[in-house]
């Protein structure tokens, strides 16, 4: 346990020095602020850049705060996933490549605390960033839109969406334990995006997957998801997270011999 906190402090310092702790939250906050503004000023934006023929008229749908949150979640599913995977793709493979690894691996370290400290700090940074993004979005939504979700619903949504974010981060960190940086990013993004495509095609019949979780979370903003399906998907996701963590720990130990001196 002591080793865990020592490693965690080292990770923290690395995130600070690499400015990861600044740019990851800022990216999410940026998109969180942009989404409500874009929808609010859509008529003006179309006016100024639209190149519309004279007399063209659009009936824009009346957006509510909930719609904006949904659309923002769609953004996070694409850009957010990309940013999170790219940010954490080198978590372990980078250390093997840069030589930091050799300094660690010659010591009698426990790979469980090595992996879990990296996973823990990455998860905290990622989840807090996403939550800050939604927080920023809400501050705009409250000012610009009449109808918006209440605090209780929003907290339920944020908690369950956080599990999905945790899954993404765990996948990225575990992949970087198994593969070199480029391969890790490719594998993690491949699994996540192919999963989303497969979910789009046959998701109706396949209700207990991590990829359904964001959708179920969004339902908390309206009526609430069907509880059986939600808890099933949540259980499967947690199980996969644990499995990935175990694989990651084992592979971090086995790959330690590949560290460049």
């Amino acid at each position: 346990m002591r080793q865990f906190w020592i490693f965690a402090r080292k990770e923290w310092k690395e995130q600070l020095r690499g400015f990861k702790i600044i740019w990851v939250p800022l990216v999410f906050i940026f998109f969180g602020a942009l989404e409500p503004l874009t929808y609010h000023f859509m008529p003006q934006i179309l006016d100024s850049v639209g190149n519309l023929p004279e007399g063209a008229e659009f009936q824009l749908p009346d957006m509510t705060g909930t719609d904006v949150i949904m659309s923002l979640t769609g953004q996070y599913q694409m850009i957010g996933t990309l940013v999170l995977v790219l940010a954490f793709m080198a978590t372990m493979s980078g250390e093997r490549k840069s030589g930091t690894g050799t300094l660690l691996y010659v010591r009698p370290i426990s790979y469980a605390s090595y992996f879990s400290s990296k996973w823990f700090t990455a998860a905290i940074l990622g989840i807090v960033s996403v939550w800050l993004g939604y927080g920023m979005s809400m501050t705009y939504i409250v000012q610009l839109y009449d109808v918006y979700p209440g605090a209780g619903e929003l907290i339920k949504f944020l908690l369950s969406y956080g599990v999905w974010v945790l899954f993404v981060i765990t996948l990225a960190v575990a992949a970087s334990a198994v593969l070199p940086t480029g391969g890790a990013a490719g594998a993690a993004l491949g699994v996540l995006f192919i999963g989303q495509i497969v979910d789009g095609m046959i998701g109706e019949y396949w209700t207990w997957t991590p990829w359904r979780l964001p959708e179920y979370s969004l339902l908390y903003l309206n009526a609430g998801p069907e509880s059986g399906e939600f808890w099933g998907a949540l259980a499967v996701t947690v199980l996969l997270i644990v499995l990935l963590a175990v694989i990651g720990t084992a592979m971090a130990g086995r790959n330690s011999s590949r560290a460049k001196v």
Binding site: K20, W23, L26, A33, L34
Partner: protein, 69 residues
Amino acid sequence: MQIEEMFAQVPWGLIWPILLIELILKIVAFVDLSKRRATNGPVILWVFIILLINTIGPILYFTVGRRNE
């Protein structure tokens, strides 16, 4: 439309946080770039990418531009 009129119409109260975030991302990217010895690709390329491509530019630099060696 006159430039001043256009400026007056912009809702600065709402968009200043976005401009600020943009600025911070660019500054942080440049600080990092000035400290770093090795990047993937020529440094001058990254200077232009960070400067000219909004939001995505600094993100690209942070994710694929840096090399730790």
